[in-house]
């Protein structure tokens, strides 16, 4: 039904968007609003996050179903504001560096109901100013976010709903299992999360991937339903094997729980944080990071 490798000859030459992590970061600016895909400690574009950590970028606003991406950016002092549905490491329910940043007042924050957060992405993706929802009525979500407004249904029911504003993103960072050089992305795990919406909501989307494959090989490992990132929404592709480490990236690899525990423990121990930073975060490239990982075992 779908032509595979036998069609190699007829694939028209497509744009080549391959770049490095540092080239991605060179396109970002201080004060930008950056969306990060994945969910908690699952399929996060960690090699891109580490490239931001070792850059001079500052005053960023990050929009995410947060995990160690938000934690690391908090710990490194890169964030002005975090916009999130939650910030969790999954097997460790609350991100410890994020907890610290909240308790010390180091960051501004926009905390939303998890489902309402999805609607902010959807509104930005669809270029409408807001999507309405019942979520938030009666709870302190509206107290915590006084800028949130409600709307009244224009129909006979006249129901009042919360208007979740569009999360306009300057850039989005996502990580896919496979991609082609033109920027088509494929997820092979159990959940895409909201990565397609991040890509559509952003002016520029940069996608890292476990492996860049020829376009005609995209159906070798997954059905057509797994091709959920279209190249019209991507601007750069970075090949980064184990690029989501230490978050999970099934079926390629699971979460590195031992590494995650070590990372989490650095929130309570400045010396451990310094050692962690020097060993893993100052690695000048993703290849050097992988070497540092290898040296662990």
């Amino acid at each position: 039904m779908w032509a595979g490798s036998q069609a190699r000859a007829i694939v028209a030459a497509m744009v080549d968007k391959r770049m490095t992590e540092d080239e991605v970061v060179s396109e970002l600016k201080d004060g930008m609003t950056i969306g990060i895909g994945g969910w908690g400690s699952r399929r996060k574009p960690m090699s891109l996050v580490r490239a931001i950590l070792r850059s001079d970028l500052k005053d960023l606003t990050v929009v995410a179903y947060g995990g160690p991406d938000i934690g690391l950016l908090c710990a490194a002092g890169k964030l002005r504001r975090a916009v999130y549905g939650f910030v969790s490491l999954d097997s460790i329910p609350l991100e410890p560096h994020f907890r610290q940043a909240r308790q010390s007042g180091a960051i501004e924050f926009t905390e939303l109901d998890e489902g309402a957060f999805y609607l902010g992405l959807l509104a930005a993706a669809h270029r409408v100013p807001f999507y309405p929802t019942r979520a938030g009525l009666g709870s302190d979500m509206l107290t915590m976010n006084p800028e949130l407004r409600t709307v009244t249904s224009p129909y006979d029911d006249g129901e009042e709903l919360v208007a979740i504003p569009a999360f306009k993103l300057d850039a989005a960072l996502i990580h896919m299992n496979r991609a082609d050089a033109a920027g088509n992305g494929q997820f092979l795990g159990p959940d895409l999360y909201f990565d397609d919406l991040f890509a559509m909501a952003a002016d520029k989307t940069y996608m890292s991937t476990e492996k860049i494959v020829p376009t005609e090989s995209l159906l070798d490992e997954g059905s057509v339903h797994t091709l959920r990132i279209q190249r019209i929404f991507t601007d750069g592709v970075v090949e980064a094997p184990r690029g989501a480490h230490f978050t999970e990236c099934p079926p390629d690899y699971g979460r590195d729980e031992a590494f995650q525990r070590e990372y989490a423990a650095t929130a309570r121990d400045p010396e451990a944080w310094e050692a962690f930073r020097a060993t893993y975060l100052e690695a000048p490239s993703h290849a050097d990071y992988l070497k540092a990982l290898e040296a662990r075992s």
């Binding site: 549905g85 329910p93 308790q103 309402a116 029911d157």
Partner: protein, 255 residues
Amino acid sequence: MSSIAEATIDEICVVACAEAFRGDGEILCNPIGTVPIVGGRLARATFEPDLVYTDTVAVLPANNFPVGDPDAPKVVESWVPYRTVFDIVWSGKRHVLMGASQIDQWGNQNIAAIGDFRQPKAQLLGLRGAPGNLVNHTTSYWVPNHSTRSFVASVDVVSGPGYDRMRELGSPSNRFHDVRRVVSNLGVFDFQTDDNRMRIASVHPGVTVEQVLEATAFELAGTDDVVETRLPTDEELHLIREVLDPTGARKAEFR
């Protein structure tokens, strides 16, 4: 009949959580936490066979399988990535049974933060999905450490709004709000009073009403003629111990 000498508090709480889903029919049973999850699976394995439940990753398994074993074989009946879970929340076909770090007499729940949310003394999980859950479908709560620190006069942050907030909000926004029950390590509580204040529905075997009142920082209704929480049946004990939680993971929630 029931094995009164054998059932332990964790098993009594599992059954009390299972009972929260009685009568729900064909909806998504979505318990969060080990005791609630074992309870939800028990409900489906016994008196609510039409429930569907999540594997906490992205599918609906059609078979009974143990908690805490990611490799347990699953018969997959459907796919529910998180986006679909939110769609189901808004459809109303869901009953969530989740934790509450603090809960008050109206059923206001806090899992967000202790202290001022602007710069909390203790950052907790956050609002998570509670605001959307409460105004869209049935909710129940599980509190494994019933004390005046968890059953409080007033919560620091309202993640999941209770009946006083819903009264203020009024119709039609409040029409899907339903806090079914609260299960703690001391008893079962509901809001079936004239003004929807929390009342004692039952105390667990061996627990006195005085103990419950001492551990609660607000006035509870329903203190007369209090009944005991029912004991697990032999079949339920078998399912809990041998099928749904053979490693006893549920016991870790009692500290």
